[in-house]
Structure formats: C-alpha cells, structure tokens
Amino acid sequence: MSDTMDNATQPIVRMQQLNKHFGALHVLNGIDLEIIPGEVVVIIGASGSGKSTLIRCINGLEEFQSGSLVVDDNELLPYGKSTQALQTIRTEVGMVFQQFNLFPHLSVIDNVTLAPVKVRGLILEDAKNNAKRLLDRVGIADQADKYPNQLSGGQQQRVALARALAMEPRLMLFDEPTSALDPEMIGEVLDAMRELAKEGMTMVIVTHEMGFAREVADRVIFIHKGEITEQGSPETLFDSPQHERTQSFLARVLKH
C-alpha cells in the first residue's frame, strides 16, 4: 500500500497538531498522523521519545492538551473531556500491552469473554465459543481453563491478543508487545501478529523488533523527542533514511 494517503479512503485515525505535556516536559509536539483502514504502521524511536504515549492517546489512556484527534468518527477532546466518545472508541480499538495485563483472578477463557459479555452484551455461551475460536487461532486452545500465572510469557501475550480481538476491534494498538518476553518467546507472538496483519487488521505497533517492522509494516514512523522526524515505507526508512537522527538511531539498533 504505497499510496496510503488515498483521498477515497477515510482515515480511521486522524491526529492534527497533537500536543501533550507531562508538567514541563513536552512529550508530544504537534503530531500530525493519519492512519487508513487496513494499514500496518510501526512506530520506532528511542525510549522516552513519546512513541508509547502517542499510541496511548489514540484510545484515551493518555490525555492530551491541545490539537484534534478523531478515531473512527469519534472526536476525543483535550484533557479527557469526552467520556462518551472515549467509551465508544475503546470498544472499537483493541490494545496489547508490554506487560500483558491479563486479569490474574480470571481463567484464560474468562479473560477473553469478560468484555464481550459485559460491554457488547453477548450471551456467555456465544462469547465462550468465540473465545475458543480465537484461542485456537493464536495456538493456545488447550490452555483455556488455566490461570494466567500458569502460562509462559509468550502464551500470556497471545491470550492478551485473543482478549483484545474478542471485541472485534477495527483497530489494534500494540505497545511494545514483545519487550517483556524472553527471547525464545518473541517469535510466537510476532507470528500471531503477522497472521493478523495478513488478514487485513489495521494495526499501530510500537516495537524494537526492526526485522518484524520491515516485514509487516506498510509504513514506518520514526519519532524523536515527541516529533515525527521521518516516515515512509520500510524500505525507504531502513535503507535510505534521510535525517541524521534516524540514521544514528538505526545505526544503534541495527548493530545488534
């Protein structure tokens, strides 16, 4: 998808001049970003660059102070002053966290069915069938009755993915989904994400996995000090970065 800015396609996320401060710290500085349905966007940057904060703004886990943000036709207002839109957006936007954040008091299947039953109003039986299908899809159908702490990190993260998918989101956010995993478990989570991308899910991914970014991204965005320094196709950004900041960042991360 090279012409991602096709006018015929309505963007699912439209961010204009978004600013966020943590006290004196200017975390996001006039971010302009549009994401169209079906697009896979990978955000890279050093830690503290604001990349996690950026995607956390999209589902309102972080407030911003000025600018405009429309997600799936719902407008989020500055200072979190838009409760109703926020609720709607969160039912349509799924998120996978670095620390999985599974509910430890609920079994795997109950983790997956909670939101569909309580938010979407699904009948428990339907939600369970749906959950089993999703768990099967991410390769952990046999763990449905276990509790999160009985699973490996990679399995937990795949449950977290199934849990988010159970809400049938139109957009999925990934906040460093493999950063807390042991190296041997990173592959299984990336595989599940790769499958999802193939099926056409719109995804915004913050990651340090550059190989994965190159493979699945339609567009890669490099963020530095709260600003989008450079963006483009993975080939352009990884092989011929224009900005010095991007070059030095890539030199550092690709060396390993």
């Binding site: 969160r90 620390q99 509910f103 008091h105 909670l114 939101a115 309580k118 938010v119 702490n149 977290a160």
Partner: protein
C-alpha cells in the same frame, strides 16, 4: 494476702455457666459492628481515593477522627454523650455495635484504600481499553483482586474488634468481661474467672483465624 495461693480449678470450671451467656453478646457486638464497619469501610475507603477533593476530604476527616481517638472514649461518648443530644437514652447493645462499627470502619477504610491502590495500574488500563466503564472495571477487575489482598488485614481487624468489645463492660452490656465481673463480685475468684474469660476470647479469635486461613488458601488458589 495468702502467698500460698493455689489456682482453684473447680472455681475456674464453676464460672463457665455464668460466663457462657456473655459469649452471644460478645459475638453479636463484634460481628454486628464489623458487618456495618465493613460497609462503612468500603464507602469511606473509596471516597478516600476519589480524585474529587470534596469527596476525599470528608473521608480523611472521618478516618482521622475515629482512628485517632480511643474506642473507650468513643463508646462513652455514644452511650452517655449522644443521649444528651438526642434526648433519649441509647440501648447499651446498640451503643456497643455502633462503637465497633465506626471504629473498625475507620481502619477498614484504610485497608480498602491500601487494597485497591495495590492493584497494578495496568489492570485498570487493560479493562478500560476493552471498553469496560470505570464502574465495570472496578467491579469485575479491580475489586475482586483487591478484596483477596485485603483478607489478612480484615481478619486482623476482626480480631482487634472482638477484643475491643471487652471495654464495653463499662456501659453495662452483658458481654464476657461484664459477666466475669458480676460473677467475681460474689465469689472473689478473680484469677480463675479472668483466666477463663481470656480462654473464651482465645477460643473465639482462634476459630476466626482458622476460618480466615482457609479463606486465604482458597482465595490464592485461583491466582
């Protein structure tokens, strides 16, 4: 005083029939007060962590007042002081239950606050990101986990409150200590009787400890 004093087992055992009627009163005041105190604790504990000052401040005030004054003074205030305001006497049983309720309520507020605040931020974020409302997130995700963590502290508070009811002999409720005092006033066997009174408190608190340990084991099994 007789220095060759012997512990008189027959006097100790003989006091049992007179002490036993005190047990239901002790239990009624403790558990009645704790049940109300539990709800008071949830209420003020949650107000205490509200982001709104005018909800938080009354909770802080309540907690500080009832944690910072002796329960003996509280029960005397309720039993002797409040009737002057109300113009009618208060039943000592009601006064005892009320004192345990407001006193344990203050401590339980802090237990609730600590329990809820101990839950990792990611739990709330994950549930909100799934579209759950703040209320649903609290009810289905935060509270069940917080409550499990609160069980040991709640048990501790239960034991403290049970023992606190012994002070209510001063307002004439026929609980264990009061029954003992009445009995001693005719037999003068203080050593034996207070020994038995102590044993009865121990029997109650020990039973509670065992029940709580079972609850904890069962609660943790799921995690």
């Amino acid at each position: 005083m007789d220095v060759n004093f012997q512990f008189d087992w027959s006097a100790a055992f003989g006091s049992i029939p007179y002490l036993l009627p005190g047990i239901p009163w002790t239990l009624l005041i403790s558990f009645g007060g704790l049940a109300i105190g539990f709800f008071i604790g949830i209420f003020f504990g949650l107000l205490r962590i509200s982001r709104l000052r005018w909800l938080r401040w009354p909770a802080i005030f309540y907690i500080e007042v009832f944690r910072g004054t002796p329960i003996l003074v509280q029960v005397l205030f309720i039993f002797y002081g409040l009737p002057q305001l109300l113009g009618s006497p208060i039943n000592p049983l009601v006064a005892g239950i009320a004192a345990i309720a407001v006193n344990s309520g203050a401590y339980i507020s802090e237990i609730v606050r600590g329990g809820v605040q101990s839950i990792e931020r990611g739990q709330g974020e994950a549930s909100l990101s799934l579209g759950l409302s703040r209320t649903q997130s609290f009810r289905y995700v935060i509270w069940p986990q917080a409550f499990r963590r609160m069980i040991p502290s709640l048990g501790n508070q239960g034991i403290i409150s049970i023992k606190d009811t012994s002070l209510f002999s001063v307002i004439g409720v026929g609980e264990l200590v009061r029954q003992g005092q009445i009995y001693i006033s005719t037999t003068f066997t203080a050593l034996e009787v207070y020994f038995m009174v102590a044993l009865m408190y121990l029997a109650i608190t020990w039973t509670l400890s065992i029940i709580l340990r079972q609850l904890e084991v069962r609660g943790l099994a799921g995690q």
